[in-house]
């Protein structure tokens, strides 16, 4: 699961994205930061951010490690995710399986997630229990037990998770094969985060402990606290619980470059469990941290005007025309390395795959030739930023956005001022980004088809 600036907002705001009201409020001398996060670093290298929240007497902790599925060792996809599971199997001060129980006993909840770029652990509790969750999280950073005797039962859980999420769902199986076709089954970007089944089965305790030793160092982590706790109290408690963890060398991300061409430029998959066809196409694309970074924000605008729902070019040409049930594009520039710009479309019954693909390609070709209009770019910027401040409603979105940004090496300003940055994107930049990616970047086009 990925939770970054765009997706957090998308889930937080459903239909709406971000506010012209904000753009207006933000226009005078300097735009105001979205969250007003405080940001500092401990002597051992741990990066800390604090976002005040006063609606209810509660606090949340998110600890992000700058290592996700993409950091899995060769031939051992799934290590980052398996380790996430095993982090709940005890540390010196917390018994096996007690972490969640102790949080729940105080009325709190906790969970964790692994994305391509990060592994993150989070809890929410009543504000007076901040010390407890900091102490337990710091304890497993310093010395997770990863007990061998619980490895096999948890491997069973992970394999069942893989079956549930992927193997028992034809669309999920197709998406997994599609990503592997573009990047390669053993490329960091082409492997599933949960891991290939045979590789999950091969993961040893040494693989997990090795990943923890390499990546779970204070200097490789970002701690985000949000809640109704005074800042000096947060600083004191963070020092108390995390300050004593010794500094140690943290492995840097070491990603292979993107392949110069798609491994399989075309993939056709027939699946007996599928009832309706699905078209996917993805181009390798730069992000805010890799490749031609200047294209990243313009690509977000491009994705909105090309395939961001009703009013977008693909929606008009494919959905409103009656060719497709749905059609859209996606792009997320918040990534630690190269990423993807993707398109998906489902044909209406009776529309052949050829006809739909041709129509989609036609829309893209026109956009490359003529570029977007000023009005389209202005509309997209308005709609992308209109609901930015809705991220203040609730206390999960802010720490996810801040932690996600900091742990891929971007500065805090990248998230605090993202509405102003998106608003500064010009039509010419969107056109340049479209021309840099869509005509020539390595890409894969794929069809999922019913078998009969």
């Amino acid at each position: 699961m990925r939770l970054t600036r765009r997706q957090t907002l998308a889930s937080a705001a459903a239909l709406c994205a971000a506010s012209p009201a904000l753009a207006q409020n933000a226009a005078p001398p300097l735009p105001r930061p979205l969250f007003g996060a405080r940001h500092w670093r401990l002597a051992n290298g741990l990066e800390v951010a604090f976002i005040p929240f006063s609606r209810a007497p509660v606090v949340t902790q998110y600890l992000f490690y700058a290592a996700g599925g993409a950091e899995d060792p060769a031939g051992r996809s799934g290590v980052a995710h398996f380790l996430e599971h095993m982090m709940f199997k005890g540390s010196p001060k917390v018994g096996v399986g007690d972490f969640s129980r102790l949080v729940a006993r105080e009325g709190g909840n906790d969970n964790a997630f692994t994305s391509r770029d990060v592994t993150a652990y989070h809890q929410a509790v009543e504000a007076s229990h901040l010390g407890m969750i900091l102490e337990m999280e710091a304890d497993r950073m310093a010395a997770a037990l990863i007990p061998q005797e619980f490895l096999e039962s948890e491997r069973g859980v992970v394999l069942e998770e893989r079956q549930q999420r992927t193997d028992s769902n034809p669309r999920a199986r197709f998406r997994e094969a599609f990503t592997a076709a573009l990047w390669g089954r053993q490329h960091w970007a082409g492997r599933p985060i949960i891991g290939w089944e045979d590789e999950i089965r091969a993961i040893s305790r040494d693989d997990l402990a090795g990943f923890h030793a390499r990546f779970y160092a204070p200097a490789n982590a970002t701690l985000v606290i949000s809640g109704a706790v005074p800042e000096d109290e947060v600083r004191r408690l963070v020092d108390q619980h995390y300050g004593g963890i010794p500094a140690r060398p943290a492995a840097r991300r070491d990603r292979a470059p993107a392949p110069s061409q798609a491994v399989e430029p075309r993939l056709i998959r027939r699946d007996p469990m599928t009832r309706d066809a699905l078209f996917l196409k993805a181009w390798m694309a730069p992000s805010l941290t890799a490749g031609e970074r200047a294209h990243a924000l313009p690509l977000e605008v491009l994705s909105h005007l090309l395939g961001g729902g009703q009013g977008s070019r693909l929606h008009k040409a494919l959905v409103e025309s009656g060719l497709a049930v749905s059609a859209g594009t996606g792009y997320d520039g918040d990534a630690a390395a190269m990423t993807e710009f993707y398109l998906s479309a489902m044909p209406r019954p009776g529309v052949t795959p050829e006809r739909l693909e041709e129509a989609a390609n036609g829309v893209i070709e026109t956009l490359i030739q003529q570029g977007p209009t000023e009005a389209e770019v202005a509309r997209s910027i308005r709609q992308l930023t209109a609901g930015a401040m809705l991220a203040l409603d609730g206390f999960g979105a802010a720490p996810r956005m801040v932690g996600g940004t900091l742990s891929i090496g971007l500065p805090l300003d990248a998230v605090e001022f993202w509405p102003a940055r998106i608003s500064a994107v010009t039509r010419d930049q969107v056109e340049a980004a479209a021309r840099a990616v869509l005509p020539s970047a390595p890409n894969t086009a794929a069809w999922l088809l019913p078998s009969a």
């Binding site: 705001a13 459903a14 239909l15 709406c16 994205a17 971000a18 506010s19 012209p20 009201a21 929240f53 006063s54 609606r55 209810a56 007497p57 509660v58 399986g97 969640s100 129980r101 729940a104 006993r105 009325g107 909840n109 929410a124 009543e126 007076s128 039962s153 491997r155 069973g156 859980v157 069942e160 079956q163 549930q164 193997d167 028992s168 669309r171 007996p272 469990m273 009832r275 309706d276 009703q310 009013g311 959905v319 409103e320 009656g322 749905s326 489902m346 209406r348 019954p349 509309r379 308005r382 709609q383 209109a386 609901g387 401040m389 809705l390 203040l392 409603d393 609730g394 206390f395 999960g396």
Partner: protein, 417 residues
């Protein structure tokens, strides 16, 4: 011991409408939620999905704004406005920044009073709904769920898919949709809740402007939930490496006088989080599943106790056997004192966490009203929960859990079932 958390809920009355409000100006956001009884309960046989399709069409063009213009108006102002139909109700709601509140009000009113129901929009949404209905049957989860409810309630709306099927959606006419909305969108019968940066007086005025133009009268009440039809075990064969099981039996409704004792029992037995008996036995100890849970699914004034688990085809029989054993053990012995203490601590301590975002607050207020709770229900909740003894909980466990009555659907290629 957690600090007691009190939530000041206000009752706002205007023009015959009543809304519950949690006012909070710390964030410049307002959420408003409302609902009517009805929904898919009144879909004509063979036209399942009518209420659902009609509700979705409300934001696909209204007044002089065709679909694309209506959507642009919402997105330009960052307004999240939506309508949906459940099995026994239709709900609407929006969330927006306070600067966008007048526009949210205008568009919500327009959607309810002057939906266009343009033919193109109907066909576009119908195609989307049909694709969704077909895709839901591509997975064991979708198949097992569909079969479970159909078998448990063969002659009642609770047994039919509220989103419709490919066939029923194809049969729905524009007149069906207009008729549904005409019966549903009324000035009376509304349940309303608001949360966020809005004062009671402003909310009262907003309610009047938003709902006053709707036709008088109240939608009809959906038919009460009939007795759960026990059906034993059914296997739906489909090619999948993993089998999905849905299991359950008759439950209790949210207005049951001992509902809070049931909440404690279910928290211990199969509730959320990572520490229930079922999670411990089936997931943690044996590694048979990624997740297992059981809860009360309340609706139509009643309730069904229902759970789900997915396991490898070769392991699902064991997962279900362990589940049945736990079912019988909890029914026979009830929870332990230690389990009681932890569950009550969680249920009392977690209250504040439900009041962090405005939509969630509004939804909590909606549920309280639907379940007939008094305004100060939450204030006394911790004390009521602590007063429930282990014996009370054991009695509830005996009453609620009936291992011999379990009905199960399994989709996949299960071995040994």
């Amino acid at each position: 011991m957690s600090t007691p958390f009190r939530l000041p809920i206000q009752r706002v009355v205007a023009h015959g409408l009543t809304a519950w409000l949690v006012e909070d100006h710390s964030v410049p956001v307002v959420s408003l939620s409302w609902s009517w009884p009805g929904g898919a309960a009144f879909d004509a046989p063979g036209r399942e999905g009518t209420a659902s399709l009609a509700a979705a069409l409300l934001t696909e063009g209204a007044g002089d704004l065709p679909a694309a213009a209506f959507t642009d108006a919402l997105r330009d102002a960052g307004i999240g406005l939506s309508f949906g139909a459940g099995r026994d109700d239709v709900d609407g709601g929006f969330r927006c920044l306070i600067d966008a509140l007048p526009e949210a009000e205008r568009l919500a009113r327009l959607a309810m009073t002057a939906p266009r129901l343009d033919q193109a929009a109907i066909e576009r949404l119908r195609a989307r709904a049909i694709a969704g209905a077909r895709q839901s049957l591509e997975t064991p989860r979708g198949q097992a769920g569909r079969a479970f409810w159909a078998a448990a309630f063969p002659t009642h709306a609770a047994g039919r898919p509220s989103g419709g099927t490919a066939e029923s959606l194809a049969a729905i006419t524009p007149d069906d949709l207009r008729g549904q909305l005409g019966r549903q969108l009324r000035r009376e019968g509304l349940t309303i809740a608001a949360a966020g940066a809005i004062r009671p007086d402003d909310l009262a005025a907003l309610l009047r402007r938003l709902f006053a133009e709707l036709p008088a009268g109240s939608p009809a009440a959906p038919p009460a939930l009939p007795v759960f039809t026990s059906f034993g075990q059914r296997v739906i064969g489909m090619d999948s490496p993993q089998s999905q099981a849905i299991f359950g039996h008759e439950g209790i409704g949210a207005r049951d006088p001992q509902f809070e004792a049931a909440q404690i029992v279910l928290r211990i037995f199969g509730g959320g989080g990572f520490s229930s008996r079922l999670t411990e036995s089936v997931r943690v100890k044996r590694g048979l599943t990624y997740g297992i849970g059981v809860g009360l699914d309340t609706g139509f004034g009643g309730g069904v106790l229902v759970g789900s688990v997915a396991s490898d085809n070769g392991k699902i029989a064991e997962a279900l056997a362990v589940t049945r054993d736990e079912w019988a053990r909890m029914a026979a012995d009830g929870p332990t004192d230690a389990e009681m203490a932890e569950a009550v601590a969680f249920l009392t301590g977690s209250l504040a966490l439900q009041f962090t975002d405005s939509r969630r607050i509004a939804n909590t207020l909606m549920a309280m009203q639907r379940n007939g709770r008094p305004l100060d229900w939450l204030d006394g909740r911790s004390e009521r929960l602590r007063a429930i003894s282990r014996d009370d909980a054991a009695r509830m466990a005996r009453r609620l859990l009936k291992p011999e009555a379990l009905s199960v659907t399994v989709a996949g290629r299960p071995v040994g079932l």
